[in-house]
């Protein structure tokens, strides 16, 4: 518990403080437990032999451990191909929407121009787009412009799915940053864009993190469009299709599915940790130079 109050010199005070913080820590522990249990169950299932996966008395810790499911998952045909496809499509879509969304959000939050209201409304309506039902029109358009079976089509669709969200959230974040900060920098000789980049962008880091994570997870998980738009060129299939490949007429190989899901969830975590570092350094340098 010492971690919560490393800098309290007097012992008794730290005990009191500890007691006062007990409900807080209990709440934190509960949050962690509730969040992690399903995740833990997924990961631990991946290590159980198939016959232990469903049992009348649950095994919270596997009696026997096996790597067999991971072997099955990794050895599934096209494993490496699916990964690189998913990465390309997802990263492409996220970066596109970050760059374009950030520009639009800045224009909306910081500038006055005719049509701004209409644009904001359009973005919100775009957020409501019924993508499950747009799949048929998108398919028809892609077919008529010879864009079926291409990863670029998927990238563009995912870009469009995440763009409204990115714009809306970044606009909210930019609005909370006092413009005076940028103005001060402009007084110090920065251009408007330079001021934004040096002052606002580092402050935006949590917002950028949240939006890119969102975009990443959305695009990374998407199945319906990946299934519908990639038809004959199977080399262009993405990971969610791989996740569904452990199913046959006799049911689903749950061990392999969970092993695959575990591997599948790792990149999102990786992206988070990666952005984390940039957030820190961005904030630090922003503080020093600002």
């Amino acid at each position: 518990m010492s971690v919560t109050s490393p800098d309290t010199p007097v012992r008794r005070r730290s005990t009191v403080r500890r007691l006062r913080r007990l409900p807080l820590h209990a709440g934190a522990a509960l949050t962690v437990l509730v969040c992690l249990f399903p995740v833990y169950w997924m990961a631990v299932t991946a290590f159980k032999p198939s016959r232990d996966i469903q049992s009348t008395t649950p095994q919270f810790v596997p009696h026997t451990w096996t790597l067999e499911h991971f072997r099955t998952a990794v050895h599934a045909a096209g494993f490496a191909r699916f990964w690189s496809n998913s990465l390309l499509v997802t990263v492409g879509a996220v970066l596109l929407s970050l760059v374009i969304g950030c520009g639009a959000a800045f224009a909306v939050a910081r500038m006055r121009w005719r049509g701004r209201r209409q644009f904001v409304l359009a973005v919100f309506v775009a957020q409501m787009a019924p993508w499950e039902s747009l799949i048929i029109p998108v398919y028809i358009i892609a077919r008529d412009t010879d864009m079926l079976d291409r990863l670029l089509t998927l990238t563009l669709v995912y870009f469009m799915v995440t763009l409204p969200f990115t714009t809306i959230v970044l606009r909210g974040f930019i609005a909370t940053i006092p413009p005076e900060l940028e103005e001060a920098a402009r007084v110090d000789g920065c251009t408007r864009f330079g001021a934004f980049r040096r002052i606002a962008l580092p402050l935006l880091a949590p917002g950028l993190m949240a939006t890119s994570l969102f975009g990443f997870i959305t695009a990374w998980n998407e199945f319906a469009y990946a299934n519908f738009l990639i038809i004959k060129n199977q080399d262009n299939r993405t990971l969610p299709v791989w996740l569904s490949s452990f199913k046959n007429t006799f049911g689903t190989d749950w061990g392999a599915t969970m092993a695959a899901s575990t591997l599948f969830a790792l990149p999102a975590l990786g992206v988070f940790l990666l952005l984390q570092r940039h957030v820190t350094s961005g904030l630090a340098s922003g503080a020093v130079k600002g």
Binding site: S55, L88, L96, L148, L152, L201, F228, I231, K232, N233
Partner: protein, 426 residues
């Protein structure tokens, strides 16, 4: 500024992404070219695990030897989202050349105008002795679009050792009453007489057919759900009695968890599955090797086995295929007698023609299946049936009855839902 790095990196990655996607699709277009003379590349869609890897290899090697002008490319499709995938393929400009479609799904595609009419090839393919349960759904308004590929139906897989311990003679189980009595004897302690999940609706369909009922009937050209007929109710009552002789979950189907895995755990005396399910059981639990036996699902009387649902697949050629002649060559080979016999033995299937039934006599599982196959039925042959399966109100009906719902009221309600679903599509 640290953000400059990711931004410039992003541009590179993005460009790379666009280039790669552009390249791969470009090369694919080039490959599709030679439709006329020379070699043509034939793309075939088969379902996951519908053929074993060994069989696929044997077939492709032999096919390449006899047809050097056709480059065969087999693509394995996943079950998840296959309906949408086939729809997308049929509507595209460059469709795969042969597609395997489940026999309950093929009617809607046959009606859609997206398939090549193969009526004039029927004699050439030996259509006279095709299994009805496969040939009928592949036909629409007198034209044949789907070519029977293979069939499978459910049998009872039982544990020889447990049956012996309980003093039951499985060969003597010929009627439903005998089956219930034997299952009751097997159901003791923590051993389950039968593991039958609440939503195994193919099994229920069999019991209903036995009673002379059906899932849906056509009246005045309009399909109507028929689960509330006295015959159908009797079928459901039998299901309820049988289901109670084990601990199958009432609100799940046989795939969740896979019933073969449950049996592999060792305390289940019987399951209802296709004979191939036995391989899954022994794969999970090698100790059960040699301990699994088969018998056809018993009927109402001893003179004939119970009615079963004929599952299986048809092969179709999309109208948008660019290599229709080569595609036909492939279909003719795979549905021909030579490969059908091999396939049936390798996969424990029923071959696509009644004339080939003897091919599987040596395999106990397939033999039990073939005995049952004589009483094979299909789901209602209308495009609307796929809509019923997609929502599957029958599963909800079974769960409702098994958990104490009023059977007559639930049946009437479900019949209405089936009627609505079937007619919403047509």
């Amino acid at each position: 500024m640290k953000f400059r790095l990711p931004t410039s990196a992003s541009v590179i990655v993005l460009t790379a992404a666009l280039l790669v996607s552009g390249c791969s699709s470009g090369s694919d277009d080039a490959a599709g070219g030679g439709a006329g003379g020379g070699t043509s590349e034939l793309t075939v869609w088969l379902m996951r695990d519908s053929v074993s890897a060994a069989f696929q290899k044997e077939f492709t090697t032999a096919f390449a030897a006899t047809h050097p002008d056709i480059r065969l490319k087999v693509q394995i499709q996943e079950w998840d989202g296959i309906g949408q995938k086939v729809t997308a393929a049929l509507a595209s400009n460059d469709a795969p050349d042969v597609i395997e479609i489940g026999n309950t799904q093929v009617a809607q595609y046959a009606q859609s105008g997206g398939l090549l009419d193969l009526s004039d090839k029927k004699t050439d393919l030996g259509g006279a002795t095709w299994l009805r349960g496969l040939a009928e759904p592949g036909a629409w308004e007198g034209k044949q679009y789907g070519i029977p590929y293979y069939a499978a139906n459910r049998v009872v897989i039982y544990r020889k050792d447990l049956v012996r311990q309980a003093g039951v003679d499985p060969t003597a189980i010929k009627t439903r009453d005998q089956w219930l009595a034997a299952t009751g004897k097997l159901n003791k302690g923590d051993q389950q007489g039968i593991y039958l999940t609440g939503q195994t609706w193919y099994a229920l369909a069999g019991f209903i057919w036995d009673e002379g009922g059906d899932l849906a009937v056509q009246r005045d050209g309009k399909w109507q759900g028929a689960l509330d007929t006295p015959q159908a109710l009797a079928g459901m009552e039998f299901y309820q009695r049988l289901q109670a002789l084990g601990k199958g979950p009432k609100d799940a189907d046989e795939a969740n968890p896979p019933q073969a895995e449950v049996m592999a755990k060792g305390k289940v005396a019987q399951i209802i599955a296709t004979p191939g399910g036995a391989n899954v059981v022994t794969e999970q639990n090698p100790q059960l090797k040699g301990k699994l036996g088969f018998f056809p699902i018993p009927g109402k009387s001893a003179d004939k086995p119970g009615a079963v649902f004929t599952g299986g697949s048809d092969l179709v050629i999309p109208a948008a295929s660019q290599h229709q002649d080569a595609a036909y060559t492939f279909v003719k080979e795979l549905t021909g007698d030579t490969w059908q016999k091999k396939l049936a033995l390798a996969m424990s299937y029923v071959p696509n023609k009644t004339s080939l039934a003897s091919a599987v006599a040596s395999d106990p599982g397939a033999a039990a299946m073939a005995a049952g196959a004589a009483q094979g039925h299909a789901t209602p042959n209308t495009p609307g049936w796929a809509a019923v399966e997609a929502e599957n109100p029958i599963k909800d009906y079974m769960t409702a009855v098994l958990t104490g719902g009023d059977i007559k009221r639930e049946a009437a309600k479900t019949s209405e839902e089936v009627t609505r679903a079937m007619n919403s599509a047509s």
